[in-house]
């Protein structure tokens, strides 16, 4: 993984586009995990996917990741935590991985729809978050994309 690879991945150069719809599974008996495959023109970074994590006990605090690669070489290029504190940010923030280091820096995005911190979310919220996150990662939503609620 190089800075050039990561820079290309998170730019229009990657020509990233989703493949198929979102598929949900349950992890650790409580967490709903949805994944969408992502195709890019950078084969060395394949496979790529978007992963959305929704805990029904904290529905207004979902997380999204742009996962790149698999196994030992896999990493999370970007991770969005909605309504979750991460000092110095009181709520929604993003983790960014830097090539050559394991640390993830955090920053506050300004392009994610605001979600009220409450025990329920309005219909359509998760899809709107996923699409906003994909847009910031320069991932196009494919024509065959199908959304299913978690």
């Amino acid at each position: 993984m190089t800075a050039a690879n990561l820079g290309a991945l998170l730019s229009p150069l990657a020509q990233a586009v989703t493949l198929g719809g979102i598929a949900w599974t349950t992890k650790n008996r409580v967490v709903r995990e949805g994944t969408v495959r992502v195709n890019t023109v950078i084969p060395v970074l394949a496979p790529c996917r978007l992963r959305m994590t929704v805990n029904p006990l904290k529905p207004s605090e979902p997380a999204l990741q742009y996962l790149v690669g698999d196994g030992r070489s896999g990493f999370s290029a970007r991770r969005l935590c909605v309504n979750t504190p991460h000092s110095p940010f009181p709520g929604t923030h993003k983790h960014r991985v830097e090539p050559g280091g394991g640390d993830e820096g955090a920053y506050e995005p300004d392009d994610i729809p605001a979600v009220p911190l409450q025990p329920r979310v309005a219909p359509g919220t998760y899809r709107a978050i996923l699409e906003a996150f994909a847009a910031e990662c320069f991932i196009m939503i494919g024509d065959d994309f199908a959304w299913v609620e978690p």
Partner: protein, 264 residues
């Protein structure tokens, strides 16, 4: 410096960095503590009867799921249970993965710290995340077929397929419904020749009709030798995993949805 100064400093730090948000019937408490990824520790306090219930709302279990730690079985599951037992939490109304306890109003501060501490300890199980060589192709095929099947079809992993000789051999999946069944064999690119030969052997000798057999090949058609694909097509249908919908479409034809689902 004396004890009062130090205690005062600790209390001031806690006071200055604890934030509370209204949340339903209760309050979310953001503590000046962080999980392994730097995210803050947050617990929910809800009134319950004569006291309060405090929960991490399965936050540690969520972080562990994202880190790839399985809490349904194995060492991590045992360690998670041990952490909860040792923390002295009574787990009132807790669902699997939730760190929770209940107690009297006078003990609220202690309850919050106990839940936070147990949740932080559980989060450290992230170091048990397997550093494996990726998700196996058979598991990717299984996950994808399971997502398609939902509750309308029955899946059996490592299903036995009957052979003409009278014995049987395992294939990746059996997908069944209303007495109709199809068999799926995942064919990995890790050792394509061997994987294809195994698939050809098992499907070629089976008593199951060809139109009920699917070879799910890893990657795209370009990654496979035309000869291997042609050989496999003599014994089964062939679908490529990189095609986003073909496997699902083929299974939809082979194992139609149940009649009850069609009527509803």
């Amino acid at each position: 410096m004396d004890a009062a100064t130090v205690i005062g400093a600790v209390l001031r730090a806690v006071n200055d960095h604890t934030v509370v948000h209204p949340y339903g019937d209760g309050l979310l408490v953001d503590l000046p503590l962080t999980y392994g990824d730097g995210d803050g520790v947050r617990v929910l306090v809800e009134p319950m009867g004569s006291g309060y219930r405090v929960t991490d709302r399965a936050t540690a279990a969520t972080l562990l799921a994202m880190a790839g730690v399985n809490l349904t079985a194995g060492r991590a599951a045992e360690a998670f249970g041990e952490i909860l037992r040792n923390a002295g939490l009574n787990g009132v109304n807790a669902i699997p993965g939730e760190v929770a306890t209940f107690g009297a109003p006078d003990d609220l501060g202690r309850l919050i710290l106990d839940v936070a501490q147990a949740s932080l300890r559980a989060d450290q199980l992230r170091w048990l995340a397997p550093r494996q060589a990726g998700v196996r192709f058979v598991d990717r095929v299984t996950d994808r077929v399971a997502a398609w099947a939902g509750r309308t079809r029955k899946l059996q992993r490592d299903a036995q397929i009957p052979l003409q000789s009278g014995r049987s051999r395992p294939v990746t999946l059996r997908v069944a419904n209303d007495g109709t069944a199809a068999y799926v064999q995942a064919v990995s690119l890790r050792d394509p020749d061997q994987a294809a030969e195994h698939c050809y052997h098992v499907f070629g000798l089976s008593t199951i009709p060809r139109e009920k057999r699917v070879a799910a090949l890893d990657g795209s058609e370009q990654k496979w030798s035309k000869a291997i694909v042609a050989e496999l097509r003599t014994v089964s249908d062939v679908e490529f995993f990189d095609d986003p919908l073909s496997l699902e479409r083929q299974l939809e034809k082979m194992v139609p949805p149940p009649q009850t689902a069609l009527r509803s």
